[in-house]
Symmetry: C2
Subunit: 386 residues, 2 copies
């Protein structure tokens, strides 16, 4: 009896997956009207309605061109051959809370203001876990040496603290951000405006392969889809949605990053920008965003996390364990309670160290990301399991 029920559930799951994949191919991108229909009647019924053209007027246009193309099995074969998978809202891996904001935007204002139907994914990381602590780092295609250097420094620091770097795999700052994350052994996610089988830009073929090997390459467009101008704007909303904040390192006067920043603001994510020389064309966009209150000025990873991070940061990857501690550091760390906080004077009593030694040791532990401090005193920083 149980086996039978499980079979039905499995069949139902398969049917739903095929429906999601079919619809993803039909609309190829965000479609608020289709999302609304799915919400109303369920994905299987929505897929049937699309195939049989039993549709409200608002959905005829967006579905007409490809509703006859029914090839979900093929699409699933393709993505499997690529070593990838499709992640649907039915999957445990679906980053549901990241997508909440997109579903709450007004689609009347912007046709892209919709949750993606599915996400096509290549790479070993779990999409949900990898986006739990993530910062989007984007910027000018025509970046300067300064911009690339600063991107490298900030991204390395963020990645070393366990933050995932989300970007768009474009030339310039995007590429520098992915590369710095990879170099630090951190997690990075490239969100594409084409199918995950398409290396775009072509010169980033190797970079995208590397990202797919250790991080994630993500797209809402089915395999085989080419990058279109319009896709980039829709892609930017996913970059913003998948992260806790958007950091712009460099941006020219008419930069596409402004669009990503706009999405961040609409989604309630902090938008941050790095200043640069006022003599550099690559920083003009950042300065304007800061000046006009669209983005907050930041100069280093700590300031990014002040805005995008939770109050208590996770343990940096570079310092794997408190067991590495010795001397005063070990004594002071041991004197800290597992839960709650303690004042330096109490730590001195507990550890047997003189107060000045405790005071000198705490900042070192803090720099190592092992302890933090607030009005209530000093506390251990608990490392989140990945």
């Amino acid at each position: 009896m149980f086996g039978r029920t499980e079979d039905v559930v499995m069949l139902d799951a398969d049917e739903r997956r095929l429906a999601w994949v079919y619809l993803s191919r039909v609309v190829a991108g965000p479609c608020a009207a289709l999302s609304a229909l799915i919400e109303q009647v369920g994905v299987v019924e929505a897929a049937r309605a699309v195939r049989e053209r039993e549709l409200p007027e608002s959905l005829r246009g967006p579905t007409e061109k490809r509703r006859g193309t029914y090839c979900p099995d093929e699409d699933l074969d393709t993505i499997t051959r690529l070593g990838g998978r499709v992640v649907t809202p039915d999957d445990d891996e679906w980053p549901a809370w990241r997508m909440l904001g997109l579903g709450q935007l007004d689609p009347g204002r912007d046709a892209d203001a919709a949750v993606p139907l599915v996400l096509w994914v290549r790479g070993p990381l779990c999409l949900l876990a990898a986006t739990e602590q993530a910062v989007a780092v984007v910027g000018a295609r025509c970046s300067s040496g300064y911009g690339e250097r600063v991107t490298g420094e900030i991204v390395s620091d963020l990645a070393a603290r366990g933050w995932t770097i989300v970007s768009g795999a474009a030339f310039g700052i995007d590429g520098a951000a992915h590369r710095a994350a990879l170099a630090t052994g951190g997690a990075t996610i490239a969100v594409l405006a084409c199918g995950v089988d398409r290396p775009y830009p072509a010169q980033h073929d190797r970079l995208l392969t590397q990202i797919a090997e250790t991080g994630l390459v993500v797209s809402e467009y089915p395999p085989g889809t080419s990058a279109h101008k319009h896709h980039f704007l829709a892609r930017n909303r996913l970059v913003a949605a998948l992260a806790d904040g958007v950091l712009v390192v460099e941006a020219g006067l008419r930069s596409g990053t402004r669009n990503t920043v706009k999405w961040a603001r609409r989604l309630g994510r902090p938008a941050l920008a790095v200043p640069g020389p006022v003599t550099s064309a690559s920083s003009v966009g950042c300065h304007r965003m800061i000046r006009e209150g669209e983005a907050l000025l930041v100069t280093r990873a700590e300031e990014v996390l002040d805005e995008a991070g939770p109050l208590r940061l996770s343990l940096p990857e570079t310092r794997s364990d408190d067991e590495n501690l010795c001397g005063d550091e070990a004594l002071v760390y041991a004197a800290l309670p597992k839960i709650g906080s303690r004042q330096p004077a109490d730590l001195a009593g507990q550890s047997g160290l003189p107060l000045p030694a405790v005071r000198a040791t705490l900042p070192a532990l803090e720099l190592a990301g092992l302890v933090g401090c607030d009005a209530s005193g000093w506390f251990r920083i608990v490392r989140k399991p990945r």
Copy 2:
């Protein structure tokens, strides 16, 4: 009878001047308690009270050390020999409205929060006229090549538009600001923390001499006074008070410019800061001030004037007259009314030029500082008499 009255007025004026000068020597700097006494009983009576020690407790301390030093005639001889003068609140040249804010601050919070008793001045400019349109440009002593270059560019633009540059004659940004103003043939004011006869820093002797030849060297300290640490903080308030806004080009982490910015904010003057590379220690202070909302990010002269300037800017010095105009520029300029504004279409009708030619000509006239534009249309910019 009239002659007699004039004599009395003259005598009275002399007596008052001697009283101001005597008190300036006695307190050597701002003294809110003395300013209050002068307001109550007048400057002559206040001077008598100080000399004879008929004083409230609050004034005994600040006046005790030098109340016996009565040498106003000597001081006036000295400043005259230096080719300078003393400017008192009785003089037409006194920048009364610039000083209003200082008199309204709470002296209980800060002993320096007072109007200077007098200003000792060297230089050919009228202090009142020269501070009518003025921007303070200050910054790090340890400036970078970048900072000096940006200072030069912004100051040249401001000076060319007829704005006076106020600064503190220090090494680094201050010096670069004065030099750029001098090089552009603009007006510049150095506010010192010592007597105007003291070259401070000594290496700026020549610079200060140049400023005294074409601009103004100003101090509230009587001739002969050395620079003391405390004087610099009091001097900073005058730098802020004498200008429409304070621009910081570079500032280190523990920069004295933050004090000038604090005064600007207390006086309701906009505080502005130029960003720079986040990799430069000389920009750390600017970034912090922008980040913490203490200063607004600006990148060029236009943005400085957006904040510190009036709606309609004065004619730049570089373009002396509309008589220099020829061709379309002359026709379009002539078509503009002396008072009020006009739309491009009307200007086309008035000038006989085709509309596209008018549209192309207006921005050139605007760049030359001859015309401006707002919601009501285009208008002539009237040059202020100096």
